[in-house]
């Protein structure tokens, strides 16, 4: 049984089909990228996978359970327990320190534990910046706090929306390395990105166009490491187009 399965998902806004009959499966421990141009439906798909929106039609199975008809309250609970979210804009609470931002996720999940939050920051290499406010951190550091917050409650899936969109190359590499580390630890990663270099690092890349799944690319040479300007060195197999 797949960890996540989307069955014939539609998301319709009036005349517009933001998602049009999309089906996909993500296995436990897999690292999947979702790519596509602006308006292709990436964010809609992320919202549905992240339990922040419901499809107009179709089924979303998480651990074999259809969550597409769940109430908002239940979706919040599922999101809290099973999904760790990472955003392009980081979305850290600016009056809380790095460690408090991590503890915030614990607070709404169970009980805040500063020691555990500090360990999470240590995992992303920010133990020494724990008491700093977001405004005192660089973009890369803020994104790493965001990663620590996403993984603090041991989610089944980490869902990242353009995680490197606001980062320079050096920080992009650091964040991708973190994902690699998480993947090696068995975490399931779904990364929505428009950046081919970040997408290509994943085991599998799904390409969306006009709300439809246009391509699925499997990275045969998966290493989980980012290589700038070396796109041709990767062998890719297009399953369908």
């Amino acid at each position: 049984m797949s960890l996540l399965e989307l069955r014939n998902i539609y998301k319709i806004y009036g005349e517009l089909h933001a998602l049009d009959d999309v089906s996909l499966k993500v296995e436990k421990g897999e690292w999947v990228s979702i790519m596509g141009p602006s308006g292709s439906g990436k964010s809609t798909m992320m919202n549905i996978i992240g339990c922040m929106d419901k499809p107009s039609k179709g089924e979303v199975l998480l651990d074999g359970v259809d969550i597409s008809k769940e109430s908002s309250r239940n979706l919040t609970t599922i999101r809290r327990d099973k999904i760790g979210l990472i955003f392009q804009q980081f979305h850290l609470v600016n009056y809380l320190t790095a460690v408090e931002n991590v503890m915030l996720a614990q607070y709404y999940h169970s009980i805040p534990d500063e020691k555990e939050a500090l360990e999470a920051l240590d995992r992303v290499g920010l133990a020494d910046r724990a008491k700093h406010l977001p405004s005192q951190l660089s973009g890369g550091e803020q994104q790493r706090v965001c990663v620590a917050r996403a993984l603090i409650n041991y989610p089944e899936i980490i869902l990242a929306d353009e995680p490197t969109g606001n980062l320079d190359e050096a920080n992009e590499e650091i964040v991708v390395d973190l994902f690699h580390k998480l993947h090696n630890e068995g975490t399931t990663l779904i990364v929505v990105t428009h950046d081919p270099e970040v997408a290509e690092v994943a085991q599998r890349t799904l390409v969306l166009r006009s709300g439809r799944l246009a391509k699925e690319i499997v990275n045969k040479n998966f290493t989980g490491k980012i290589h700038f300007d070396e796109g041709d060195a990767f062998r890719k197999e297009e399953i369908h187009e």
Binding site: Y13, L16, A18, G39, G41, S43, T44, M46, N47, G50, M52, D53, R73, T76, T77, R79, R80, D81, L85, F87, Q88, Q89, H91, V93, N94, Y95, L96, E100, M103, L104, A105, Y107, Y108, H109, P112, R149, D161, E162
Partner: protein, 430 residues
């Protein structure tokens, strides 16, 4: 964590929170000012209204029976008198402190030298009393009938002219007799006569303008009525009559013991009358309906006006809070969206926002309460010329009003917060 978030928000949004506190303070100050005045206004308005005269008259029982039969008030007595030596007892009743002023009256017939019959009224003007309770009191018509206009001369001063043959004369009678201040009138009573020096001419605008007013003992001596009085006029602070007061006044046996006790221990005109009757032998005390009713009506209208001002000020405060809290929530939409995204339920976020607002409200409410009490003092000094007493009841009422106004003002923001979808604020919805 909750505390850190509250502290963080309050510190970060201190300007906005200060504005919310200020709005609440404004509403609370008006509410507490109006409530303080409203709860104290009964006494204050009553005191003001007391300047318009007595609201209770006491007559001998037999005179009262005749009045009832012929439906007249203040009619001639029939040889029955009240006892002057019991007057001090009026200030010993349960509601003694509500007795502001009173004066006894004795009406005697006199004849002038030219044979003209005149009505001579004996009363207190500024009579000094030492009460059985140890208190001292100046009572009399000088304060009880303060609306009398002294056309010439001055009020008769009993205290500095003890046992002097002095009199005040009504303006009509003075014109008829052609007398003025400083003149002397020889008045012959049924028992004695005397020369009375006129100290003042007054215009009362009523029957009194054809009368001569002299000190009580002097009038009593003219008719050999030592220690006797015809009637007493009492000015008392009273609570407007309600159904209970009317019911007890009609038939005291129709109420329960507890209702009777409540009536007895409330300053209704009827209960004060009842208590006066208890201390003045063979007397009937009755409220002057017109005055009592006017007092009640004015009081009710004053209270209604204050309630309306309070309601309007609170509505204004609620609208102000509504705008400010909504703006605050809108400004924090991405933060709130994030909290929802990482698992916060609507209840938790509403609780957080409401806690922040209520902390601010408590701050604003406390400041507003004290400011309002200050306003109340200004109103008290300006309108009633006296301080407003803080009634403990104002504190819980203002607290409840602040809570209700804050809640009402927060409703639109909370509804917006509940409708806020994390997907829409954290990144595009499509």
């Amino acid at each position: 964590m909750f505390g850190r978030m509250i502290r963080g928000t309050l510190l970060r949004q201190w300007k906005k929170m200060l504005m919310i506190a200020f709005t609440i303070a404004l509403g609370a100050s008006l509410a507490s000012a109006m409530l303080s005045v409203m709860l104290d206004v009964e006494d204050k308005v009553n005191q003001e209204l007391k300047t318009y005269g007595a609201n209770i008259t006491v007559v001998p029982k037999s005179a009262s029976v005749l009045n009832d039969i012929y439906e007249v008030e203040g009619g001639e007595t029939t040889g029955a008198y009240l006892r002057e030596d019991e007057l001090g007892k009026i200030k010993t009743i349960f509601w003694a402190f509500n007795i502001v002023d009173y004066a006894p009256f004795v009406n005697v017939k006199g004849t002038l030298e030219d044979g003209t019959d005149v009505s001579v009224v004996g009363s207190w003007f500024n009579h000094h009393m030492e009460l059985p309770t140890g208190e001292e009191l100046d009572a009399g018509i000088a304060s009880l009938r303060s609306w009398w206009e002294i056309e010439s001369g001055e009020w008769l001063d009993e205290q500095s002219n003890e046992n002097a043959q002095i009199a005040m004369i009504g303006t009509s009678l003075a014109q008829k007799l052609g007398v003025s201040v400083g003149d002397t009138l020889h008045i012959k009573g049924s028992a004695s006569d005397g020369d009375f020096h006129i100290t003042g001419i007054f215009d009362a605008g009523g029957d009194e303008d054809d009368q001569i007013f002299v000190p009580l003992n002097t009038a009593q001596a003219l008719a050999n009525l030592d220690g006797c009085i015809d009637s007493i006029e009492v000015s008392a602070l009273t609570t407007p009559e309600n159904e209970l007061a009317i019911k007890v006044a009609q038939d005291p046996s129709s109420v329960t013991v507890s209702q009777y006790e409540l009536w007895y221990c409330t300053a209704y005109a009827s209960s004060i009358c009842y208590q006066i009757q208890e201390v003045i032998t063979d007397s009937v005390a009755s409220p002057v309906r017109q005055v009592a009713d006017s007092e009640g009506a004015i009081l009710e209208k004053t209270k209604l006006l204050m309630i309306l001002i309070t309601i309007l000020s609170l509505i204004g405060a609620a609208l102000g809070i509504c705008n400010l809290v909504t703006a605050s929530v809108m400004e924090r939409s991405s933060e709130i969206g994030l909290m929802k995204a990482i698992g916060a339920q609507n209840g938790a976020i509403s609780g957080l926002v409401l806690t922040e607002i209520f902390i601010t409200a408590i701050f604003g409410g406390v400041i507003g309460f004290f400011a309002g009490f200050g306003f109340a003092q200004i109103i008290g000094q300006t309108v009633f010329n006296s301080a407003i007493t803080l009634k403990p009841m104002v504190i819980p009422i203002v607290s409840i009003l602040v809570v209700l106004v804050t809640l009402a003002g927060s409703i639109p923001a909370i509804r917006m917060l509940l409708r806020l979808r994390p997907a829409e604020v954290l990144h595009g919805g499509r």
